[in-house]
C-alpha cells in the first residue's frame, strides 16, 4: 500500500483543474510535461524579454508587476494555484509587458506558446474557458487602475488588503510571506507609507498585526474606507 505525498495531492488537483477547463488526458499530459521550480524571490519572467511560454502555476504564489527604469514596481496581480500566466503574450508583440516573481517557493508548468495556441484552436471548450480568464484579468486590471490612480493612500491600502483577503488567500488572515514592500507595490505607494497606514488601520480596529501577519477584523470598515476614495 502506498501513501500520497503532498506533491501527489497537488498533481491530482492540477489535473482536476485542467480537466474542468476541457482538456483531454493527452492534452493534460502535454501541458504538464515541463515543470520548473522557483525559489522565493526568483524571477519567473522578465519584463521586455521574449515570451516563449505560457505558464501554469502549480504550487506557491507569484506576483506580476510592471517596472519602470528606476526599478520601481507596480504589482497588478498576485497569483495562486492554479492560474495561467502570460495569456497577454499569446499573440501581439511576443514580449512580456510585465515581470513576474515568486513570493514563495513555487512550481510552474511551462507550455510552449505554439502548443497552447494549437489547443485553443482545436478545443472550443478550452478556448471558451480561456476567454473567461481574459475577461477576469481585464476586470481585475480596471479595478486596480481605479484604485491606483484615483484614490488616496488609505483607500489604496484597503483595496490591497481586500484584494489579498478575498481574491487571493480566501481568508481574513494575510500571511507573513506578504511583505510590507509587496503591499506597497500592490498599492502603488512607498513602503514607509504602508507602515503608517497599517498603523492607522490598526488604531481604527480594522485590522490587527502580529509580527508581519495581518488579520482583518472589520471588513466592512475597510470597504467603507475604500469607497471614500
Amino acid at each position: 500500500m502506498r501513501t500520497f505525498s503532498p506533491d501527489d495531492e497537488n498533481n491530482k488537483k492540477l489535473v482536476e483543474f485542467l480537466k474542468k477547463l476541457g482538456l483531454s488526458a493527452s492534452e493534460i499530459k502535454t501541458v504538464t510535461n515541463t515543470e520548473i521550480e522557483f525559489k522565493k524571490g526568483e524571477n519567473v519572467c522578465k519584463q521586455g524579454s521574449f515570451a516563449s511560454y505560457i505558464m501554469i502555476l502549480k504550487e506557491g504564489w507569484l506576483k506580476s508587476f510592471v517596472e519602470n527604469i528606476h526599478f520601481k514596481n507596480t504589482v497588478f496581480k498576485i497569483t495562486k494555484p492554479f492560474s495561467i500566466i502570460g495569456l497577454s503574450c499569446l499573440y501581439g508583440d511576443n514580449h512580456y509587458h510585465f515581470g513576474c516573481q515568486a513570493i514563495m517557493p513555487s512550481k510552474v508548468c511551462l507550455v510552449e506558446r505554439t502548443v497552447f495556441d494549437d489547443i485553443i484552436r482545436t478545443n472550443n471548450k478550452f478556448a471558451s474557458e480561456i476567454i473567461k480568464m481574459y475577461s477576469n484579468s481585464l476586470q481585475n486590471l480596471y479595478d486596480r487602475i481605479n484604485s491606483i490612480s484615483n484614490k488616496q493612500s488609505l483607500s489604496k491600502v484597503c483595496d490591497s488588503l481586500i484584494y489579498l483577503s478575498e481574491k487571493i488567500f480566501e481568508s481574513n488572515v494575510i500571511p507573513i510571506n506578504i511583505t510590507r514592500r509587496d503591499i506597497a507595490e500592490l498599492s502603488g505607494l512607498a513602503t514607509e507609507n504602508i507602515v503608517r497606514t497599517l498603523a492607522e488601520l490598526k488604531s481604527a480596529n480594522a485590522i490587527s498585526v502580529n509580527k508581519k501577519e495581518i488579520t482583518i477584523l472589520d471588513m466592512d470598515l475597510l470597504k467603507r474606507f475604500s469607497c471614500f476614495g
Copy 2:
C-alpha cells in the same frame, strides 16, 4: 448610376473588417443589425450597470475610463473604428467595470452578449481573433498602469501623446476634438498640469500647439522624456 455616401463607404469597411475576423455573411448581418448613434459627450455605457451588449464601434471615437465616487475619471483607452468594446464583460460578473463616452459623434453596433458568445463557441477563427484582441487589451493596460503609477507628470503626458499619435490617430497631429481634460484623464493628472506640461513640451520644441490641435514635432524627444520616468 448611384453614388456612394460616406455612410455606404463606412458600411463597406465595417463588413470588410468583420470578414477578416472570420465572420460569415449571415453572422455579419446578425452583429450589425442594431445600430445606435451617440452625440459627442454622450454615455455609451455606465460603469456598474448591467452589461447586456458587446459593442462594435462603426464610426467616431470613444473614451473608456474607470471613475471613482468623486467622478474623477481615469481613461485607459481611446477607441477608434472598428473596435470591439466590452469584451471584459463577456463572462464574469456581468457588470461594466468601466464607463465609456463618445468624444465625437459616433455610431455603435450592439450585439447581445449571448449572441456574441454563440458565435465565439461555433466559429474557431473568430474566437482566435477575439483572443488576439484580449491580448492587446491586456498589453495596453500594462503599459498604461506603468505610466500612470510609476512616472512623473512630464513622462505621463508624453506617454499619452505617443499613445494618441501612434495607436489611435496614426498621425503626428492630435486633433482639436481631444480636450485638455481628455489628456488629463488619460494621463491621470489634473487639467491644469496638462496645460503647464504642454507649455513645457512646446518650449522644448517637442510639440507645437495651434488652437487646441497638438502637432508632434520631435517624437524621439517625447520618447526620451517618457523613458526618463
